[in-house]
Symmetry: C2
Subunit: 225 residues, 2 copies
């Protein structure tokens, strides 16, 4: 029996890109899980894992925090359908998404994010994200960021675009963990905002559509803003 | 018999990161080649290849332009010691180096670059690079770029850093094409400039030292500024 502790916003929105990596990894393995939605203020739920963040996976007697560790755990415990056929590639894409793509998206959706947390988490988010940005005028910050930030994000996606010009998935003919990493990153703004980040004729757009179709439209059917 | 057409600067400096990819790929395969140094103004030398750029490889009856095509040609023609064990990974790193790293380095060394071309190529470079930058005050532009640009480059290297924290090479226990791509990128400023881009305790620095040691110090021994 697997339990997944998944960050939850208001109206049961589930935006966390790191939790999406874990959910998509579980789906890739054909595993089902008990869903445990957790707000920012419910970190006592994952205290048993010595974690301050989501996702956490509780799999039998194994407790695993951090999406990268979860992916490795799943490949070790369920060797069928490898998630990470090439560890170097997966780790490179993981670092790239975390440091080049997620930070490029955050300013573009920060006001939408603040607006959609659970009411009980609002004060915490306003303070922590306000400190990070140096302002609590999230709407103004977001509008300004979008002026150049959408184009900058599209440019930053160029490494993925180069690969996707030649093949349907980042991992080749079928998706694997590098695809789930970047797709999880896109599910974050998709869950929070109506902002369209990609142009329709971008091969990254076509790839994202294929990813939305996976597992009987698992991600496409998730609640979104 | 293989001939490599390699971009040459004054005093036989060979800075081109794309030509380095080809030279390192040839070394990886244990192949030797006839060296054909070419200035910016000598593109007639590669007209037979319908190329406007270096490197070009002439291998028996095969003519191959573009570093990525050269790497693929070498793996097809000399299957021993694969250069590209994972095409997706190599293509991703190729796109990343070309669009996120090379453009971050260019402003940091542009004055050094202009200063070190062959005298006969000076006017062409001043005009083409001046147009790209919107100024011909290369020294002023470079000094200004270095104020924040060195730190920005170090941050942009984070995906490589994450991988190199866990293993000696981007490709695992031994180098392959992803390593040669990024190493070629570092050989470009190394050949042109005394600017140190990396901190000594950075794992990327340690990796670069290992790359400089490869093939009996092949790259370490190349002429540099």
């Amino acid at each position: 029996m697997i339990t997944l502790y998944d960050l939850a916003f208001d109206k049961d929105l589930r935006p966390s890109p790191y939790c999406w990596r874990a959910k998509l990894a579980l789906k890739h393995k054909g595993l089902s899980w008990r869903d445990e939605p957790c707000g920012f203020g419910e970190k006592q739920k994952v205290a048993f894992a010595q974690s301050q963040t989501y996702p956490v996976v509780h799999d039998g007697t194994k407790v695993v925090k951090d999406s990268w560790a979860i992916a490795q755990h799943l490949d070790a415990a369920y060797p069928d359908k490898p998630l990470i056929p090439d560890r170097s590639y997966a780790q490179f894409v993981n670092g790239w998404a975390d440091t080049a793509i997620n930070p490029a998206i955050f300013p573009l959706v920060v006001a939408d994010l603040v607006e959609r947390v659970r009411p009980v988490d609002r004060a915490y988010i306003v303070e922590s994200r306000g400190k990070r940005l140096g302002t609590t005028d999230f709407a103004g910050f977001q509008a300004k960021a979008r002026e150049k930030g959408v184009a900058a994000l599209r440019a930053a996606l160029e490494p993925a675009r180069r690969v996707l010009k030649d093949q349907p998935f980042l991992s080749g003919q079928a998706p694997a963990y590098p695809d789930y990493i970047l797709f999880g990153t896109f599910l974050w703004p998709r869950t929070l905002s109506k902002l369209e980040l990609l142009e329709k004729d971008d091969v990254v757009h076509g790839w994202r559509e294929r990813m939305l179709d996976l597992f009987d439209g698992f991600a496409r059917g998730a609640p979104a803003a």
